[in-house]
Symmetry: C5
Subunit: 334 residues, 5 copies
């Protein structure tokens, strides 16, 4: 489930910042604390080793040399450009999450009739659309897959009946079958036109186009799942960040020079740890967004979308079909 | 209400810059001054403590060391990339603020007739559209919520009648019900076609499509409210800026060396305070845009949109319906 | 009027660069020279004061210290990101400048008939469309406003007649009335269909959709005028640049050390002035684009668009209506 | 075939990072290792030469001087901006890979009839669409070209028959002929309407528009192939990276000063090699994406798309035509 | 003509890089070599003058001072952001280059009939569309202008006949007349419907819409030509790069100190020349893309587009009209 915080930032006052920080779910602290702890432990260990084992003189020079060399490993830009690309992709995926209202309202308005045939047809169109969505989401979202591990489980949840599942399995293509329920939808729409529940071909087109748009959004999600950002890009970025901070374990150690006294508080890696925290947090944003249908706190909740769609869709095409209150003369008249 | 300043910058002359600065509402100075004051006070306090308490020699070295380390906390890029993403999102939200004119003109042109039935139907379509918009805006905008804290308050404002509210509450889905008034609209459109107020199915389609586009914009706003930019991203950026300037409280202190005389004017943190001002101001831009329906000076004014839509929509579909002046032969003839 | 230079850069040769520089109108030199002069004068004044008043030793240290501190005021990124956002917005506004050809060709093709009624109706549709455009442009462009300071002036220019203006003023909404002439257009289109000048409802739809697209572009312009880039963003960027170069007035002074001889040519601030010129020029690009309907050399010329639209539109729907040359057998036959 | 890794990154935990690194196919290590090896060998060779041949004093100075100069060759930004542009282009190309489902579902729904004529017509439409796609992909993808080196090979694969190939070859334009099979499709659609397999012209339009959209996506792919990113841009970026690392071969050598002892472990170019690895890896991302229809691990697999389209398309328009299960009363009723 | 290199980079191997470099046409070397030579000559001249004329001591100090000051003239970001904007614009222009296939296929499918009247009408529609395109391209592309310096030359090439040219010249608007041939197209389409060559108004709409889309793309090209990127932006960027490298002529000179011996090989400006080459090359990318219809190697070839469109269009609407091979039972049946 995505983490909402719009109310916390309704103004740009200082308290907004604090309210934002207080959130734990999906927060950067939650994402980073474990690795930060590991890093600090490693830092402490190396610190101890260095202190007891190696002559100070030599150390000092090496650290400076390495730190200079490290300058070239500039991870800011890599991260900045990479996060921008990942956020862009994440936004496009968000836009392709399809809600049922548009197509349901179209079906309900254009396929008229309150007899059982019309009602069942409209309900089945909605069910098939959500079935297709569920089939797609099963393949791209871990959470939906866990809820519906097999097609059988979809049957138990009532999205598909045995005869339909049988027919679906009969369809042999060797490729995905997300289109099969959509095909059933189209057949129902056509039959409705034949049986004069739809007035004109131009109205049929309206329904068909809305069904097509719903399917296209699902197809886009499949495309995004099929072709992720080329693997080498996240690899290189995530590696760069980790290598950088691995080196800082050594280069940012406090090494007292011989001539000056030992200052215990310099052993506290305050600023190195802070920058580790900030950059790793930034990287985690990218890592969490890379697979928006994954299991992070902030990932899209496919199950919720499916449940909302079947419930809302049924309500629209059946109970609320052709419903209209008695019109009153509004007070805006003058 | 957004702050308009187009006239102030109609040319790129120097005076334009001054006119721009004079604006107070929504200005960066208004957003930053409080925190700037706090920062300066803290700076002064620390300055005093340092001066009386700690030996100069030690201080000097620490400050230099910290300042060097701080270099890695480069907040420029984080801010730059983050602001770009936030502005992009803000722009998309702006594009999804829906005005009623398009759909009202379509309704007025296509649903003909000046009898009470036609007029009431057209008026109700507009009312339902704005009702749906008000329901959505209540859930995403603090200001609209304050104006309409309950559905009852919408009834008092005349957007919904008691029987309609009753029917709305009867509709049980467990999810949002923004679609219910749209469903009523569609029903009215269909009835109008049945009663021959609309000439052809193709014209009905035109109205239905415009209603659908209006609803889609509302749905997009809901989507943007439902899935904000992942919380970790603003957290990390806002933290980075604040941590950076917390450290500068210490590293940018004036610490006289023993060998040179004390220069009182070096105690004035002119440039550190300026950079605090500029970066915090930049960050405030992001903070204000993060929730464009919030309560900042520059946020979108949902209430104004709703009032404009109901007023303009009613005017278009009722008083101005089918209105056309007597055509005159224009002077562009030759 | 925008400044065209496409021909000057038709190839990437060196001469192209020179031709580009020769342009004065809209050029960066024209935008920057005044402030550059002021800056140089200030620089000279401060230089003189410093030379005669303050002991060299002290100065030298301060300048170095300030220059180091100044490093953090990095204006490159602010400018870079800001210019990108401003250019993006400017491009979107450009795309929403509407030319009449599309809707005029549609009106001319679909509303048939050469009698006075048909001709007058087609002409009036064009006139009303351009009238709506002129009303919008009056409110967003300084130049169009100066040309048409009142609605009366629109009447004198022939865009609206007295009876129409009367009807327009009767329409009382409290909000903008850009939609009123569009409403008249729609009424005319519908009347044309009733009177059988339009063959089928599907053709009517075609005209209505083109009129809607024309109006939507006007609405988008209004939106962009209503919601500018939040004022804090330009404020912060323009302030940052100016503060930066105010400080350089002091930190980039030539301060001879005591041990070395005075070198007069070091007093010439060659590189500081050059960087002032370049960054201020970059900023001016942003400043000029911020209000594309303003009065800079490079701003869009609304008056020209209005004149072109009324002239071209009338030509298309009247004189050139249904015009088609006698077809000849072309030489591409074989 | 593209490399999928969505499951590996379903959460932002540390293990996700390791799973990501374990991938070999399409990985950055696979892309970089050879050049990395060459670089290390060269480094070692130069190291040896330097050690035995040149006096240390001189070397030391040169290396420092060169390293300072090298600072200006900043490849980070070039790479960052270039990769962003390349990724953007790659994304657009991905969006123009066309799957057959939309058009096949439209054909199947609108062209009714189960007699041989209807079935053959529907099948041929699909075949011609995929044929056109195969002809385009042959010209832009190395892999598809290898599979179908000649038009004959397309005939052998069954995408085109001898008489069709003959007709195709008769069509003489001197330009590409991707449109010829689409023209055949349109002719079939029209014949179907004449023979009353399609109910209304508005339905014909629906099919024609879907065919047009399919063709437009192919045309876009051709456009992208015809006009690549101007060659000078990749040249300059790839050169910059290679020149940079060529120079580091010399400037990053360990040159012991005379006064200090020789430290063997300083000869290991740990950080120079790491940065070589990271930047070259970043560049490889750009290089691999530059031609998304090439032969890299991560490139789009045109052959798979063609096979999927012909198989799925045939299934939809023939076996699954008008198929609809017996509707059951679903459990969502209440 | 654009320079194609997709095959050279079909994989990300090292050889791909070499193949890419071998290209001369449109290459960065071709664009830069002349200015590079000039720069090197100037460098050598200044080097000589410095060596013989000025005392070494003074020089050394000045060079260091200038080099430090130069740091602020950071051209990387200016170039990076500017190139991104220019590439974005160039991509949009590419998308607006219109090919005739879509509209030709629509005309051929919907306007039926094989008699001379139908054939001539279809051919004329194509001719008028390409004529309009040629008129637009003449005004935005140097190469097309050279081919068709006058309207007469269009007549000689067969795109327009004398009577048509006469009619075109009669149309007096004072503005561009690109719409005139489109108006003729529309008239022909309408006449075809009157004469029953088109079956239904909905089909007429299909053709009209495709013609409109073709014209809109031309209008967009005109818009982009009318409103270039504000001239101040390229001016400032191109100036910045050139000023930067003008200064490096002085600051990057080898100036031997008195205490050390003269090293002749330090006079070779290896790295300064390399960076001149790389940055100038990067700038040339922007310069070449700034006017995509210019005369650079990589610019769009308008003449080729016009020739292809007239040839392909005629083929589609005439010779290939209603052509469809005898359908065979394909082997994908099972």
């Amino acid at each position: 489930m995505t983490v909402s915080y719009a109310l916390s930032v309704s103004s740009a006052r200082y308290s907004a910042f604090l309210r934002l920080l207080r959130k734990w779910k999906g927060s950067v602290v939650k994402a980073v604390w474990a690795e930060l702890l590991v890093w600090i432990c490693l830092y402490a260990m190396i610190s101890t080793i260095i202190f007891w084992v190696i002559p100070i003189e030599a150390l000092n020079k090496e650290a400076t040399r390495l730190d200079n060399l490290l300058g070239i490993l500039d991870i800011k830009f890599m991260l900045g450009f990479f996060v921008t690309i990942v956020v862009d992709r994440w936004k496009t995926i968000l836009q392709n999450i399809s809600f049922i209202e548009t197509v349901a309202l179209s079906v309900s308005t254009i396929i008229r009739g309150t007899d059982d045939n019309a009602r069942l047809s409209r309900r089945s169109i909605i069910r098939y659309l959500v079935l297709s969505q569920a089939m797609v989401y099963r393949d791209i979202s871990m959470r939906v897959r866990r809820r519906f591990p097999t097609m059988k489980s979809l049957m138990e949840a009532g999205f598909i009946f045995e005869n339909e599942l049988h027919e679906l399995e009969q369809t042999e293509t060797g490729y995905n079958k997300y289109w099969v329920p959509i095909n059933w939808c189209n057949s129902i729409v056509w039959r409705m036109q034949d049986q004069k529940y739809i007035e004109a071909p131009v109205s049929t087109n309206n329904v068909l186009n809305n069904i097509r748009d719903f399917r296209t959004q699902l197809e886009n999600l499949c495309k995004f799942d099929w072709v992720p950002i080329p693997i080498a890009y996240p690899q290189i970025v995530f590696l760069a960040v980790r290598i950088h901070f691995f080196f800082t374990l050594f280069t940012r150690q406090y090494i007292p020079t011989e001539t000056e006294e030992f200052l215990w508080y310099r052993c506290i890696p305050l600023i190195p740890a802070t920058s580790f925290f900030l950059y790793l947090g930034w990287m985690k944003v990218a890592e969490a967004l890379l697979n928006p249908f994954g299991e992070d706190d902030d990932d899209f909740e496919g199950n919720w979308v499916i449940d909302k769609n079947i419930k809302t869709g049924m309500q629209i095409v059946d109970q609320s079909h052709a419903e209209c209150p008695i019109l009153n003369i509004d007070q805006f008249s003058d």
